[in-house]
């Protein structure tokens, strides 16, 4: 210690100032806490797409931070008409009603078409393949029942604080929902 440099009085003065600043900081933090706490919720939130607002622009396939988007097509089977000519499955004006690539809309062949009984077919989505491009959703919305729609799948979603797709969503359809009710499923077609 070099006693010539500092005087005890200045040390105590600085100490006093510091104590005061700390008290002020604590009070500020407490105040902020009080202000924000009343607007907080015990539940967590996750991102989800409101299918009624979705405009099927295709951004979901392109903007997710994951290499393969966490947004997938989801099928509300109860709404489906089980059409033989599914406009979510087939191209507009298909060459033929078979599963050949020239007739199919899905770029990754993620929709499986299963014969149930005449004239009904069931359509299921293979999520491993689906990239959330919304092509089938658009087809089903335009000419069908709208039973296909997009949802954020929470087994894949990283739940980024700032969802990269939400930022560019053309329909303003992304919103934060409570984590215990993480899906906005379609129960009504329009």
């Amino acid at each position: 210690m070099n006693p010539g440099i500092s005087k005890p009085s200045s040390v105590t003065r600085r100490q006093f100032l510091r104590d005061g600043a700390r008290a002020a900081g604590l009070a500020g933090l407490g105040g902020l806490l009080g202000l924000v706490a009343e607007r907080s919720t015990a539940k967590g939130t996750v991102w989800q797409i409101d299918p009624q607002k979705c405009v099927r622009c295709g951004n979901c396939a392109l903007y997710c931070v994951l290499e393969q988007s966490a947004v997938k097509c989801v099928h509300a089977y109860a709404l489906c008409g089980y059409c033989q000519l599914c406009t979510g499955y087939f191209e507009p004006d298909p060459n033929d009603l078979n599963t050949g690539a020239e007739n199919c809309l899905c770029p990754t062949s993620a929709i499986k078409r299963t014969y149930i009984e005449d004239p009904y077919y069931e359509y299921t989505i293979d999520e491993q393949l689906c990239i959330g491009c919304a092509k089938c959703v658009e087809g089903c919305h335009r000419f069908g029942n709208g039973s296909l729609f997009l949802q954020v799948r929470h087994d894949r979603c990283l739940n980024c604080n700032e969802c990269a797709i939400a930022k560019v969503c053309a329909g303003d359809a992304f919103r934060r929902v409570p984590a215990d009710q993480p899906y906005l499923l379609k129960t009504d077609t329009f």
């Binding site: 690539a101 020239e102 770029p107 990754t108 062949s109 491009c133 000419f143």
Partner: protein
């Protein structure tokens, strides 16, 4: 001494000899890991830039091949090619995904090894800390402070000028929504729907509209023309009174509309729809415009041949003409024939084909698209901005398909759109589409359009009853505003015609009935003995009637029946006539007719 002090911890003598080889080994490991990570990283980067998501979403070759197949739909080789191409593309995409997933983990592993090796190498080379030479300069702190001040000041200037340049470059040129909003509110004064407000400049005035025949059943939609010198007689055989007659240039059941010396017709089929403009003086085609590929989607509307694509009658607001087709295409053209805009509202679900005609109000186009069954909930009423075709407002309608044309009426100074459905007659505020009132009185397949005259609204429930409604009040007015009903010889296709004094109704079988508009008392009825689809029209105190087989009848619009004129036209009429001054325009299945008043001098009659 100090060195010894730290040797205790850093490098003890026994490890000294082996230390060099260990260091070398760690360094080598670091180099290998570093080169490996770099290579993997570069590969990933190249792979990332190479594979674009659009290659899979919109592959140009695949789109081209599918287009080719459309032209040559039976070529098996082409199908095979498409399948192979699609398979290749998908394989490439999922290989890309797998490669990226695997490569990233490889890279992470490489980097971890690199960092560990470098850490170990650094530990082997750990040097003893030693104090450096004491700074020779006096007051190092002061020097540092001076330098730091300048650096902070420079940073501040950079940040400040950066903000300034940014706001300068982007800021002032931007229109602010606030200003734009004020402008929007200022230029749309009709939003306030005050009746005394001056009309927007971009639509003709009501007086102008009444001088012409701007829509189905005339300017007021009640089949009444203010003309006082409409032709009383003509002779198709000698050509007397026939100003001109030209072959009908296009197929369709819509009626002609007339504006400022131009007659407009729409027509077409599944392949091609069109709008045609004829010179009202000569019948020459002034312009002819196709309406095609309005939607990029294939046309999925089923249009029965019995009504065709052009059953809806066109409309004009004096600035542009608008045409609607049964497949949902809606197109606007300037009076000179330039396309203004086009929209598709399809597919429409209608068992007989869409036949509802257009209406306009100020600079808005009113579009009633009722379709399907009432449970489907697909029916809507639209008001479009006539300039651009953008939707100004739209209202869902809980109704199935109807065929009646909406009417825009003036009810106590406020404009209301009257649209029929089962079982409701509903009035919407023209300004914003809000529902004003509704009355429960309709049944069946609604085809006759509502007519408004003398402050009363006449609506026909097909083959059931004719009702007179006082169009005022709010909410459900079924109990309070139904003035009278008439239940004999009710039309199921044609619309009532009224001048406010009398109401004329005509059944498809030709039974013509005249009622008093005030109390619904029957004045007379008469069997014309002809099949009629064209609605009766009133002009110059006469009622004009046209049969499906070409019979034309003119009777006096009076409280007692008097047939004034009857002739055979040698044509078939489904469309209703249009009256402008001394001319009457007819669209027959074979000819378009212009009939003109003959006076003694053989000149045009005096203008009203």
């Amino acid at each position: 001494m100090l060195t010894r002090l730290f040797q205790v911890e850093a490098a003890s003598p026994p490890r000294q000899s082996g230390g060099e080889t260990v260091l070398l080994a760690w360094r080598l490991t670091a180099w290998v890991a570093g080169v490996f990570s770099l290579l993997v990283g570069i590969t990933l980067l190249v792979e990332h830039t190479r594979a674009k998501p659009n290659d899979l979403l919109q592959p140009p070759q695949l789109i081209a091949a599918k287009e080719q197949l459309r032209l040559d739909p039976t070529n098996p080789q082409l199908k095979q090619d498409i399948r192979e191409l699609d398979w290749r593309l998908r394989q490439r995409y999922f290989r890309h995904l797998a490669l990226m997933g695997f490569g990233v983990h490889l890279l992470a592993g490489g980097v971890i090894v690199l960092v560990l090796a470098m850490m170990q190498a650094a530990r082997c080379r750990k040097r003893v800390p030693l104090p450096g030479p004491k700074a020779a300069i006096p007051h190092p702190a002061a020097r540092f402070a001076a330098r730091a001040r300048w650096a902070v000041a420079a940073c501040g200037i950079v940040v400040g000028s950066g903000l300034f340049v940014l706001s300068r470059a982007l800021g002032p040129n931007l229109p602010t929504p606030a200003a734009e909003l004020d402008k929007l509110l200022a230029t749309r004064p009709e939003e306030s729907s005050s009746p005394g407000h001056p009309q927007a400049a971009d639509a003709a005035s009501l007086a102008e509209l009444r001088q012409n025949w701007p829509r189905f059943l005339g300017a007021d939609g009640n089949s009444f023309s203010p003309s006082t010198n409409a032709p009383a007689s003509w002779n198709p055989q000698t050509g007397a009174g026939i100003a001109w007659k030209v072959p009908t240039p296009t197929r369709g059941f819509g009626s002609p509309i007339v504006w400022a010396g131009q007659v407009f017709l729409s027509g077409g089929d599944a392949r091609q729809r069109e709008v045609i403009c004829l010179d009202a003086q000569t019948g020459k085609i002034l312009w002819q415009q196709p309406v095609a590929s309005v939607s990029d989607r294939p046309d999925r509307t089923e249009v029965p041949d019995s009504t065709g694509y052009a059953a809806p009658t066109m409309a004009t607001d004096g600035r542009r003409v608008y045409a609607f087709f049964a497949n949902g295409d809606c197109a606007a053209f300037t009076l000179a024939g330039q396309p203004a805009w086009a929209r598709n509202f399809g597919p429409l679900k209608n068992p007989y084909g869409h036949a509802t005609s257009l209406a306009t109000w100020r600079d808005r186009l009113i579009l009633q698209l009722d379709q399907g069954e009432s449970e489907d909930g697909n029916s809507k009423l639209y008001a479009l901005d006539a300039r651009t075709g953008q939707t100004v407002w739209q209202r869902p309608r809980k109704t199935g398909a109807t065929w009646a044309t909406p009417n825009v009426i003036d009810a106590e100074g406020k404009a209301q759109v009257i649209a029929l459905s089962v079982p409701w007659v509903i009035a919407y505020a023209a300004a914003d589409g809000a529902e004003v009132w509704r009355a429960e009185c309709l049944n069946g397949e609604i085809a006759p359009s509502p007519a408004c005259a003398g402050g009363l609204l006449f609506v026909a429930s097909p083959s059931e009853k004719l009702l007179a409604i006082r169009p005022s009040g709010q909410g459900d007015i079924t109990q309070t505003h139904l003035l009278w009903t008439w239940e004999d010889s009710i039309p199921d296709v044609t619309s009532p015609a009224s001048d406010g004094e009398l109401v004329f109704i005509l059944t498809t079988s030709g039974m013509l009935t005249c009622l008093d508009a005030r109390d619904g008392k029957k004045q007379w009825e008469h069997d014309l003995e002809m099949e009629c689809h064209a609605s009766p029209a009133l002009a110059a105190g006469r009622l004009y009637l046209f049969g499906q087989k070409g019979t034309a009848v003119v009777v006096a619009a009076a409280r007692e029946f008097r047939e004034l004129f009857r002739t055979e036209m040698g044509d078939a009429f489904h469309a209703s006539p249009a009256f402008v001054q001394d001319r009457m325009f007819l669209r027959g299945m074979t000819n378009v007719w212009c009939v003109r008043t003959i006076n003694e001098a053989g000149k045009e009659g005096a203008q009203p």
